[in-house]
């Protein structure tokens, strides 16, 4: 057998090299050298991102088990950017006495989940897909329980691993039914074999539940607020953008590639899920007191907007979906960056604690406000353009009522996003958060996010680049 074909997997191999270097460095570094693991992993990941940021021609490895197409380069670069920002934001937290002994593991585990997400997105066979999704979610559970002396973190870890394994078990049963009916698990072969007979529809629903859990759509969202509240704040940000964004992208590729013949069956399912996800999450978000719980419900409703790109099932749908993931990633990570700075210095996580933040920390509250405006979709921030493109993609396919419901919900979401802005700028407080000097890495990450929030919408070439590579 010729193994040289595997050398074509540039993305995975170079990420694997980064992982191995960091692991070996973590094991053998002296106590003095261990403090350089933070800049080392950030620099290595940046080099890896830059080297792999250029699209190549399509190819397949192992008989179609691994598939590459240029759009994957973009989505992987976006996920890399999210991970780099997480590393910058987590820097200060990882210097705490309670976690400093395990900081090498943090980088190792995070990069392992990233590798799993890579494999999941590049998969052309259900086996590689399943390995990828598990490689991503098992280290993720350990990251959620990373603060192991903290009750909340431990509880969130237990809730996360039990519900994620339950979901992947149901998903696995669906894959076994597909295998029994079709006799193969290659995506390309299945696309021709799948018909709208009941066994395939049932198998598809079972299979999709695993992904719906990861995206946390409404009937499958019950783990989300608890895990988001209990997990370390950086990990919450990672879960809400990187893990969720890649799962939505995979849902798009599998539904349009493998289950293309069942489009008439899965579109109504997604229709219902979008309507309940956006509406219920908005209603629940309004009454939250803890800001991480609040962001959990906000991310559930954003997942509903992301699915508007999937339901369009067109080239425009794909490009608007990838663009939405890009903008959502930077907006959400900016918010979680501010939350983690404030939580780390003062331990305050309630929305009431943000009263009067503007008087003491004007810059942090400005970043938070711009990011919230971007999430709500107020022009000229990038969130407006991403929402515009994704609504345009859904309207193109004739989903007028659905887009109308989503628009109404945008107004509702504006209400609760503005509640936080009001707390920061207008509400008076006797004991506002004291003045915080943000550490340099977190400041760099916030500036990066802010640049993307402001300019990703105004620079139309970004969307055109993505749009040129979309296909169906």
């Amino acid at each position: 057998m010729n193994y040289s074909a595997f050398l074509q997997l540039h993305d995975e191999l170079s990420l694997l090299a980064v992982i191995v270097i960091i692991l070996i460095y973590d094991i053998f570094a002296s106590e003095k050298g261990a403090r350089y693991i933070q800049p080392l992993s950030i620099v290595l990941l940046t080099v890896h991102t830059v080297l792999n940021a250029f699209p190549r021609a399509d190819f397949e490895v192992a008989g179609g088990m691994y598939q590459y197409y240029p759009m994957l380069t973009y989505i992987k670069t976006i996920l890399n950017a999210g991970t780099i920002i997480l590393f910058l934001q987590a820097d200060k937290w990882l210097r705490d006495d309670s976690v400093i002994i395990r900081r090498g593991e943090f980088y190792f585990l995070t990069l392992c989940t990233l590798l799993g997400l890579y494999l999941m997105m590049s998969a052309g066979h259900f086996l590689l897909f399943f390995i990828g999704i598990e490689t991503a979610s098992i280290p993720m559970a350990t990251l959620v329980a990373f603060n192991k002396y903290n009750h909340k973190s431990a509880e969130a870890g237990a809730k996360f691993i039990l519900s994620t394994v339950f979901a992947s078990g149901i998903s696995l049963y669906g894959i076994s039914m597909i295998y029994g009916a079709a006799g193969t698990l290659y995506f390309d072969d299945l696309a021709l074999l799948i018909t709208n007979s009941p066994i395939y529809i049932m198998a598809m629903v079972f299979f999709a539940i695993g992904l719906f859990f990861k995206i946390s759509l409404v009937p499958f969202h019950l783990w989300t607020p608890d895990v988001y509240e209990g997990a370390p704040t950086g990990i919450t940000g990672y879960l809400s953008v990187v893990s969720k964004g890649s799962a939505v992208f995979v849902l798009f590729t599998i539904f349009t590639k493998v289950f293309a013949n069942l489009t008439a069956e899965w579109q109504p399912i997604l229709y219902g899920l979008i309507v309940i996800s956006i509406t219920l999450a908005n209603i629940f978000a309004i009454r939250q007191k803890n800001i991480k719980r609040f962001m959990a419900y906000s991310s559930i409703s954003q997942a509903g907007y992301l699915l508007l790109g999937v339901i369009s099932a067109s080239a425009t749908g794909m490009s608007s979906l990838v663009y939405y993931i890009l903008v959502y990633l930077f907006s959400n990570l900016a918010i979680f960056g501010v939350i983690s700075v404030i939580e780390h210095r003062t331990g305050k996580v309630n929305i009431n604690d943000y009263n009067g933040l503007y008087q003491t920390n004007p810059r942090l509250s400005a970043v938070m406000m711009f990011a919230l405006f971007s999430l709500a979709g107020i022009p000229p921030f990038a969130g407006f353009f991403s929402k515009f493109f994704i609504f345009a993609a859904a309207t193109e396919q004739g989903y007028y009522v659905l887009v109308f419901i989503a628009l109404i919900n945008t107004v509702i979401s504006l209400y609760y996003y503005l509640l936080i802005v009001k707390a920061m700028f207008l509400n008076k407080s006797d004991q506002p958060v004291e003045r915080i000097t943000t550490d340099l890495p977190a400041r760099i990450s916030l500036v990066l996010c802010l640049i993307m929030i402001v300019f990703a919408g105004l620079l139309s070439s970004i969307y055109q680049q993505i749009s040129a590579l979309s296909f169906i």
Binding site: K152, G157, G169
Partner: protein, 122 residues
């Protein structure tokens, strides 16, 4: 049903029997996941779900598509992955035990909707 018994009496186990066993395991797992009060029992229920899918893969491969080994390979990988999952889950359950001194599902109540916490305090 008649042919099922005829097959049994002639010593050949039919495919339906395997699917029946795996289906019972699958739903027993779901029932256990939703009703058990001990984290370890919940974990065992999840293992039942994963193993029921493995039985399906092996049976389908043996009876319907014996020319390739795709199902058997999938089963091998799934067994390895579920072992990893169990190891991590057990580690997290031990961590829960160290924090709370028991492994009951009901003791995991620190993270809840605000309304539920309010009613508990009253």
């Amino acid at each position: 049903m008649g042919s099922l018994f005829a097959n049994f009496s002639s010593g050949i186990v039919p495919l339906e029997a395997y699917i029946f066993v795996s289906l019972v395991m699958f739903f027993a797992g779901i029932y256990g996941f939703l009703s058990r009060k001990n984290l370890l029992m919940v974990l065992i229920s999840i293992e039942l779900i994963l193993n029921s899918a493995d039985i399906n893969f092996a049976a389908f491969n043996r009876y319907l598509y014996p020319e390739h080994f795709e199902g058997f390979f999938f089963t091998l990988f799934t067994i390895a992955i579920s072992a990893c999952e169990t190891a991590v889950a057990i580690a997290i359950v031990i961590n829960i035990y160290r924090n709370l001194n028991n492994v009951e599902v009901d003791s995991l109540q620190e993270l809840q909707e605000p309304e539920l916490q309010d009613t508990k305090e009253q």
